[in-house]
Amino acid sequence: MLTRFGWGAALAVVLTFLTIFFAWPVGAMLVRGITDDAGNLNLNTFGDVLTTGRTWAIVGHTLTMASLGTLGSVLFGIPAAYILYRTDFVGRNVLRSVTLIPFVLPTVVVGVAFRALLGTNGPLGFLGLDQTTWAVVAAMVFFNISLIARQVGGLWQMLDPRTVEAARSLGASRARAFCTITLPALTPAIGASAGLVFLYCSTAYSLVRTLGSPGVGTLETEVFRQTQAFLDLRTAAVFSALQVVFVLASVWLTQRLSHRTTTALRLQQPRRQKLSRADWLPLTITLFAVIVIILWPMVTLLERSLATDDGYGLDNYRLLLTSPGTGFAGGTTAAQALEHSVKIALDATVITLVAAILLSLVITRQVKHPGLARGQRLLDTFIMLPMGVSSVTIGFGFLVSLHAWNPSLSQSGMLVPLAQAVVALPLVVRSLIPVLAAVDPKQRQAAAVLGASPARVLATIDGPYILRAVGLAAGLSFSVSLGEFGATSFLASPEYQTLPIYIVRLLGRPGADNFGMALAAAVVLGIVASIALLLGERIRPRLRRFT
C-alpha cells in the first residue's frame, strides 16, 4: 500500500513539474497557434502550410541532415564507447573528459571554430566543405560522439564479460561475438542515445544557420523565422507540430528497438581490460574521431582565443578578468557570468537529477497491469518532447504562461534553472533507463526474500547502479545546463547573465577584443565543464569493504 502511494507520489511530483514547466508553456503557444483572435479553433493554417512544397522540402532537409548526423555519431561513438569505457590506459580519464567538452560549447562558438577550420583559408579548406551540409553533419558528429560514447559506455562497462567468453569459446571471433552478443545487449542504450542525438540534430539551429549551405533550412530554423521575424504563431505552430511528430516518430522507433531487446543482464562492477593490440580497429576509429573531429576544431578555437595583434598571448584571458568587453563599460564581467552559470547549473542539476531518477524508476518498474505498462511507455515518450520542441517556442511559451501569471517569478531568476532542467531532463532520463532496465529482477527478488523492503531494495540493489549512472548523468546534466543558451536567453535577467549569453553578446559587437574574449570565454566554459564531468565520473559506488 505504502509502496503504491510512494510511486504515485513520485509520479505526481514529476508530472506536476513537467506540466508547469513544459506542457503549459508549450501548450499555450500551440493554442495561440491554432486559434484565431476570437479564441475559436482555426486549423486553416495547417492545411495551407502542409500543402506547400517548401514545407516538405524543409522536412526532407531536416530528416536528411539529422539522419546523417546521427549515423556519424553512432559509427564513431560505439568504438569510442569501447575504448573509453571498457579499456584501461594511461590518460583515459583525460581523453574521456576531452571528448565531452563539445557538449557544453555554445553552438555559435562551434560554428566559428568549424568555419575557421573548414573555411577557404583554414587548414581543412581544401576539402571544400565550408557552408555545405557536410560541414553541418561534421559539427553534429562533433557534438554527439561523446553522447553516444558515454551512454553506451555506461552500460557496456557493466556487462558481464563471461557471456562473451562463452561465445568466444564456441568459436566466435571478436567481431562475431561483438555483433551477436554485445551489440544486442547494448541495443537499448544505442537506441536511446541515437534517438537523443537524432532529436538534437533535427533541432539544431545555430549550426545549420552558421555552417549550412543556404537553402530551405530546417524545421527549427523555420520555427525561428516564423516566430522571430513574422510573429506568425499560427504557421510556427504548424512547424512546431511537425517537430513534435518527428519526436514521436523517433521515440516510437527507438522504443520498439529497445523494447524487443531489453533483457535483464547480469550487470557487474565495471570491468576494464588493458588496451591490447587486438583493439587496433576501435582505437584507430576513436583516435581519428577524437583528433580530427573533436580536437582539431577545439584546438582551432584555442588557437584563435590566444591570437593577439602580435602573435600569441594570454591577452584575451587577461581582458576577461578585467574588462566586460569593448563597448560594455558596466554590466557583467566574464568572471561574474561564469559564477552565475555555475550556480544556475548546480541548481538545475539537482532539479534534473531528482526528476530524472524518479521518472526513470517509474518508467522501468515492472508492472503487471497492461494499462500501467502502456502508461509507462506514454510517459517515456512524453519526456522526450522537450528536446524536439524549439527553444523559441519554449522561451516564448514561458512568457505567455508562467511569466504572465506571475512576473516576479521570472525576475527572481528561479525560472532559469527550472527551464534548464526541463531541457536536460530527457537526456538524463535516457541515460538512466537502459541501466535500470538491465538490472536483473532476480537480484531484487533475492533482496526481498532476505527481508528488504521495497525502499531498501531500491536503495541497496538499484541504488548502486543508479549512483554510477547518476555520476555520469550529473556531469552531463551540469554541462548541458552550463552550455544551455536557447531557453536561458529568454529567461535570464540582464543582471544575472550566464557565460554562454555573455559569449553571444560579445560576438554581437565589433571590436577585436570582443571577438577574442568571446573565444577565450568559450575555452573557459569548456574547461569548467570538463572539470565537472571529470568529477561526475568519480561519483561511483566503491566496492564496500567489510568492517
Binding site: S213, V216, F224, F396, L399, H403, A404, A512
Partner: protein
C-alpha cells in the same frame, strides 16, 4: 522612500539585449529619484517587440527601450503605449512620423552601412564601390557579404534600404546574388568569419554599422552611399504600474551623461547633437550626411511581404 510602497519605487524596463549603462549613472539616477531600476531583456529589438505583443493583455513592465525604427510603427499600432510627456529637445528631429501623440522618445541612433577592408582594396589596386548599384558590378563579384534579413536586424535594414532606394529591388537582389554576394546567417558570422579585415574570410565588403570602423582603428571604413538610418526609441506602457518612474527613466536616457555614454556602451550615436563623440568616432565613424531614409509606414506595411519575397528569391537562387 517609503518601504511599504514598493511598486511605485521600482521601475521595470524591458530593453534589448545590448542595453548597457555605466553603474555610476544608474546609482546616481537611483539616488536622485529614489527609484530602483529593474531591467529584463528578451533579445534584440525584434524580440522586444514580439514580447510586448505577446504580453499585450498583461504587460509586466513600466517602460520599454530598444524599439527600432522598423518595429516602431507596429508597436504604435498595438496601442500599448501612452504619452511619455518628456521634453525631447534636439531629439525631436528623430521621432516617428506617425507618432503624433508623443508615444516614442528617440534615445539613440546609428546607421547600417557596407563596410570595407581598406587594405584589401589597396592591395588589389581596385577602387572601392561607392553605391548600392556598384555592388552588382562584375568588378566586385564575390566580394560582398550581407546578412539574412529574416533573422538579422542589419540585414533587415539593408533590405529596407534596397527596397527604398531601388525601383526594382527584386531585380537588384537577383543581380546581387548573381554577382556572388553571400548571405551570412548573422552579423557575427559575416563580420568574424567572412570579412577579410577581421578574420581569415574571403569578403572585403561586409554589411555592418557606421560605428564599426571606430573599433578597427582605421583598417576599415564605411561606404556612405549605402548607409541607412537606425533609431532606437523608448516609451511608457499604457498599463504601467509606475508611469512616473517610467517617465523619469526616459528623462534619464535623454540626460547628457547617458547620451555621452552611448558610443562606448552601446555603439550608437547620441540623439542629442550637443554631446561630443569620442576621439576614434570623430576620426573613423562619422555618420553619413545623407543616408537612405525609408518611409516607416511603407516599411511596416510591407515588411512581411518583402521578407517572404526575399526568402523565395534567395532560396531559388541556390
Amino acid at each position: 522612500p517609503d518601504a511599504t510602497d514598493d511598486a511605485s519605487q521600482t521601475v521595470t524596463v524591458m530593453t534589448h539585449d545590448s542595453f548597457n549603462v555605466p553603474e555610476e549613472l544608474v546609482t546616481a539616477f537611483e539616488e536622485d529619484t529614489g527609484y530602483t531600476i529593474t531591467t529584463t531583456s528578451p533579445g534584440d529589438a525584434g524580440a522586444v517587440l514580439n514580447q510586448l505583443i505577446l504580453q499585450q493583455d498583461n504587460p509586466t513592465v513600466d517602460a520599454v527601450y530598444g524599439i527600432d525604427n522598423y518595429s516602431a510603427p507596429t508597436l504604435l499600432e498595438e496601442n500599448m503605449l501612452t504619452t511619455h510627456d518628456v521634453e525631447l529637445g534636439g531629439a525631436a528631429d528623430y521621432t516617428v512620423g506617425t507618432d503624433t501623440d508623443g508615444h516614442l522618445a528617440p534615445i539613440d541612433r546609428g546607421q547600417v552601412c557596407v563596410n570595407m577592408d581598406n587594405a584589401w582594396f589597396e592591395d588589389a589596386d581596385l577602387a572601392p564601390p561607392e553605391t548600392l548599384a556598384d555592388l552588382t558590378d562584375p568588378a566586385y563579384e564575390g566580394l560582398f557579404v550581407t546578412t539574412d534579413p529574416t533573422v538579422s536586424s542589419p540585414g533587415l535594414a539593408f533590405l529596407v534600404a534596397t527596397a527604398t532606394a531601388q525601383d526594382d529591388w527584386q531585380g537588384y537582389w537577383q543581380d546581387l546574388l548573381d554577382n556572388g554576394a553571400k548571405v551570412a546567417s548573422s552579423w557575427s558570422d559575416a563580420y568574424y568569419s567572412d570579412f577579410t579585415s577581421t578574420s581569415d574570410g574571403e569578403y572585403p565588403l561586409v554589411l555592418s554599422y557606421s560605428s564599426s570602423p571606430s573599433a578597427e582603428e582605421g583598417r576599415t571604413s564605411t561606404i556612405t552611399a549605402t548607409c541607412t538610418d537606425q533609431v532606437e526609441y523608448a516609451g511608457v506602457l499604457e498599463e504601467a504600474a509606475n508611469p512616473e518612474g517610467a517617465k523619469a527613466f526616459i528623462e534619464f536616457l535623454l540626460s547628457t551623461e547617458f547620451q555621452a555614454s552611448l558610443p562606448e556602451e552601446m555603439f550608437m550615436y547620441p540623439v542629442d547633437d550637443d554631446v561630443e563623440l569620442p576621439g576614434e568616432w570623430e576620426q573613423y565613424a562619422q555618420l553619413a550626411d545623407d543616408p537612405i531614409s525609408a518611409d516607416l509606414t511603407v516599411v511596416s506595411e510591407n515588411r512581411d511581404a518583402w521578407l517572404n519575397e526575399w526568402t523565395e528569391l534567395y532560396e531559388n537562387a541556390n
